[in-house]
């Protein structure tokens, strides 16, 4: 019963995530049980398969362009508490390897005191449900349509029974890729990622990291954070302050390797290479993962805090390496300036411990919100990023004998 990794994780050599992503969270009705949820998931999975083949159930004989849709399904810890669940919570999904809940009065730390916090208006984290579904496609329609088609199935199921479907949509988040390789703070701050030959051993659960739960071998864990950037605070910093917090030159993306005698950030003079203007262009690959530096102020910049064990074998959990597959977002907001901008941080790893430790450990990202010196943060930088939703989901392997990934959890 050897399984394989689900689709929707773009880790192969030369692969890059398609342009659009939707993450949808489904909450189980309190009165339902595992069998009912499993039946519904089987129906949804079959519908998703149809969509990937260009078939919309309400439009028989009218093929559509799927937009390269790929669908991935994951399960939160609560799914194992459903009545009649046939699998028990994997050991690597222990409560200590999850995010904290938001404070009932709003806000509160995601993990530790100085790191990421929930936004003050978040009193309940909307991404801690039983089921998470990730849609990726080349077009916005490609990822929006399956969300609507999901609603149709749930709506019809509710109408045909007691008025309540076993699952309900609790939250939907959308995002898109940026071709320029920058984030909303204008920097190339998220371009350092694993080499393609290292990725599968970071992502896939193997016989060792399964810790005895062999049914999750070839699966992975998806971590999701909906992070809003406080752009007014960011714009309150000078370019030099921004560069030292990020660890890259704002314009070129060249890694900062030290400071000038005046204390200004000093980019690597070798980057970008001749004939190029930015680190994301061909020929600059070696500068995407910043090298170790001596300057203590540069060492505490974001790109260095997030990746300290560069020489360690990425396959080892001790490396704390993860495979990131984030999508930016932009959404209207009733609050000035009328929109929110940020990142759907998505990562895949063989154990949540890798990410949890990066976000929790002092000198990594545990004692700052984004970067810089722990006790000398520029004003407001302790809340540059706030969390609107966060969750970790087990992504079970695709197994030929199952009607949908993880089906044996339910029946």
């Amino acid at each position: 019963m050897a399984g394989t990794l689900q689709e929707g994780i773009f880790h192969s050599p030369g692969a890059s995530p398609p342009g659009h992503c939707t993450l949808m969270f489904l909450r189980a009705d309190p009165d339902t049980d595992a069998e009912e949820v499993g039946e519904l998931l089987a129906e949804l999975w079959a519908m998703y398969r149809d969509l990937t083949r260009g078939t919309v159930r309400d439009l028989p004989g009218q093929p559509i362009a799927s937009g390269g849709l790929q669908v991935l399904i994951g399960y939160g810890p609560k799914v194992f508490d459903l009545a009649g669940a046939r699998r028990t919570l994997p050991k690597t999904f222990a409560p200590e390897l999850r995010f904290r809940s938001a404070s009932p009065s709003g806000g509160g730390p995601l993990l530790s005191g100085r790191g990421l916090h929930y936004a003050p208006d978040i009193k309940q984290n909307p991404a801690t449900e039983e089921v998470c579904v990730q849609f990726t496609a080349d077009t916005a329609l490609g990822v929006h349509r399956p969300a609507v088609e999901t609603w149709k199935v749930l709506h019809d199921r509710a109408g045909s029974a007691l008025g309540v479907a076993p699952l309900a949509i609790s939250a939907v988040f959308t995002g898109f890729q940026r071709a320029d390789g920058r984030s909303w703070i204008d920097f190339h701050d998220g371009i350092s990622n694993l080499r393609s030959d290292q990725r599968s051993r970071v992502i896939e659960i193997d016989g060792e990291t399964a810790a005895g739960d062999d049914w999750i071998i070839a699966g992975t864990y998806l971590a999701f954070l909906r992070l809003v950037v406080d752009l007014p605070r960011w714009r309150g910093l000078t370019r030099e302050e921004q560069e030292l917090l990020v660890g890259r030159d704002k314009l070129t993306g060249s890694p900062i390797v030290g400071r000038t005698s005046e204390g200004d950030p000093r980019p690597d003079p070798r980057c970008p290479v001749a004939g190029t203007t930015q680190v994301i262009e061909a020929g600059n690959e070696k500068f995407r993962e910043p090298e170790v530096v001596d300057d203590p102020l540069v060492q505490v910049s974001h790109v260095h805090r997030a990746n300290q064990n560069r020489f360690e074998d990425a396959a080892r959990p001790n490396s704390l390496r993860i495979f990131r597959q984030g999508y930016e977002f932009f959404e209207p907001s009733p609050v000035a300036p009328g929109f929110r901008a940020g990142l759907n941080f998505v990562s895949f790893q063989d154990t949540p411990e890798r990410l949890i430790r990066v976000l929790r450990q002092q000198d990594w990202l545990g004692d700052v919100n984004f970067g810089g010196e722990r006790d000398r943060q520029p004003p407001g930088m302790d809340r540059l990023l706030t969390v609107r939703a966060a969750g970790i989901y087990l992504v079970p392997p695709l197994v030929a004998e199952e009607t949908f990934p993880g089906a044996r959890i339910f029946a």
Binding site: E96, R114, D206, N309, A315, N318, D367
Partner: protein
């Protein structure tokens, strides 16, 4: 360049500094024939292009975690001196101080964590008994007797010759550290006295030695590569450790981290040297996870020592003797669960340790310098490692003494 005392924690006369360097040079010389290369040096590069970096790993013992499970790892690692002697092999050892509360109940009071190398202390004990006595007093706050340091029959260590002092101190405070000559002289693997068993004075596990540290970095500091259709690529951890039949080392925190850091540097043609002062240092500690009555633990409960800032080798965590609190009054918040602190394992899980190394600038690596490996790249099954047999034996002994029933962790539900 002579190395200063570890952490520059002590001001020693030149002759003792010289003897410390003699130990380093001897360990280096012992490995030089088999592992020497231009990529490792005892002379850190001092050029403008040199870079200093601290290699790091977590201080909790890895082996019981992958051989058994996290709960058993905590239970066995916290099993007093037995757990320490068998499992604390990540260059980080700890001892829990116990004390009676007002009701006479013996409870954990604080945790002592150390990364200090035994060879350094053994050198001092051999060549300067007054110095080692002062150090123990400085660290533990109590002046030890000569008998505690050198054995019941020794009232004046100066009356012993250096070799006798080495054997005596090793027998009672340091253990043999895996040194065959000391073992042949009758020194047990672990010390017989209580100074460094009731306390964590310095590390004593045989694999936590200076010799092993030099071995693993020198072992790693070679440009290991595999031939591919696209040319040479850096060899993987599996290929490197499997090629030299040391797969068991690949599963711990320390050895792969140290070796792969050195290998990564060598592949780029960089030299690797231990930064002065050579030692094993505490890298980061996430104290903020620990709270007392809902507030961060008082600053004075987190005491670093035995070194300069950024070069500390010792951490004491917990209340002082005059404080009415105990370690198990502390809560550690991990993810979505809060737990009472029961022992040292929960503390060292939040602690990174490692040595500093200085890397020279990149340089071309000639074809004949590469160590080309052709072994399997298949994952190493750590839970099938030989080390797991001894871990499981320890678990059997634990269960014989305590019964097989595990006490559920005391947890407190959080509001959702």
């Amino acid at each position: 360049m002579p190395y200063d005392p570890p952490g520059r924690a002590d001001h020693l006369p030149d002759d003792l500094v010289g003897r410390w360097n003699g130990l380093i040079e001897a360990a280096h010389a012992a490995h030089e024939p088999a592992l020497g290369s231009r990529f490792f040096s005892l002379e850190p590069d001092t050029g403008a292009d040199a870079t200093t970096v601290q290699v790091g790993w977590f201080g909790d013992p890895a082996e019981p975690g992958f051989c058994l499970d996290p709960e058993a790892a905590e239970q066995l690692s916290d099993w007093g001196v037995r757990g320490r002697h068998e499992l604390h092999n990540e260059y980080c050892e700890y001892a829990v101080q116990m004390a009676a509360d007002a009701n006479g109940v013996v409870r954990p009071k604080r945790v002592q964590v150390t990364t200090e190398l035994a060879e350094y202390w053994l050198m001092l004990a051999t060549w300067s008994p007054p110095t080692v006595r002062e150090l123990v007093e400085e660290v533990l706050g109590v002046r030890p007797t000569w008998q505690e340091l050198y054995g019941p029959g020794v009232s004046d260590p100066e009356a012993l010759d250096p070799r006798q002092r080495t054997v005596a101190f090793a027998t009672h405070v340091a253990g043999n550290g895996g040194d065959p000559e000391l073992a042949e002289a009758g020194v047990p693997a672990q010390p017989m006295g209580t100074l460094n068993t009731a306390n964590a004075l310095f590390i004593t596990h045989p694999i936590n030695g200076l010799d092993d540290l030099l071995y693993i970095v020198m072992f790693g500091a070679r440009p290991y590569a595999r031939q591919t259709p696209d040319g040479f690529q850096p060899a993987s951890r599996e290929e490197i450790f499997r090629a030299f039949d040391v797969e068991h080392l690949a599963c711990r925190h320390a050895d792969p981290a140290a070796a792969m850091a050195a290998a990564g540097a060598a592949v780029a043609g960089r030299t690797v040297a231990f930064t002065n002062p050579l030692g094993m240092y505490l890298k980061s500690f996430t104290a903020e996870l620990f709270t007392l009555d809902g507030a961060p633990v008082p600053d004075e409960w987190v005491r670093f020592s035995r070194g300069e800032p950024d070069r500390f080798q010792r951490l004491e965590f917990g209340p002082g003797d005059d404080d009415p609190h105990f370690l198990d009054d502390v809560t550690v918040t991990l993810g979505d669960v809060e737990k009472r602190v029961r022992g040292g394992y929960q503390v060292v899980r939040q602690l990174e340790v490692g040595p500093f190394v200085t890397l020279g600038p990149e340089s071309p690596v000639a074809d004949d310098e590469r160590v080309v490996l052709q072994g399997s790249d298949e994952p190493i099954r750590c839970n099938e490692a030989r080390a797991c047999e001894s871990v499981k034996n320890l678990q059997t002994r634990f269960e014989e003494q305590h019964g097989a029933t595990r006490v559920a962790p005391r947890t407190m539900a959080r509001d959702r």
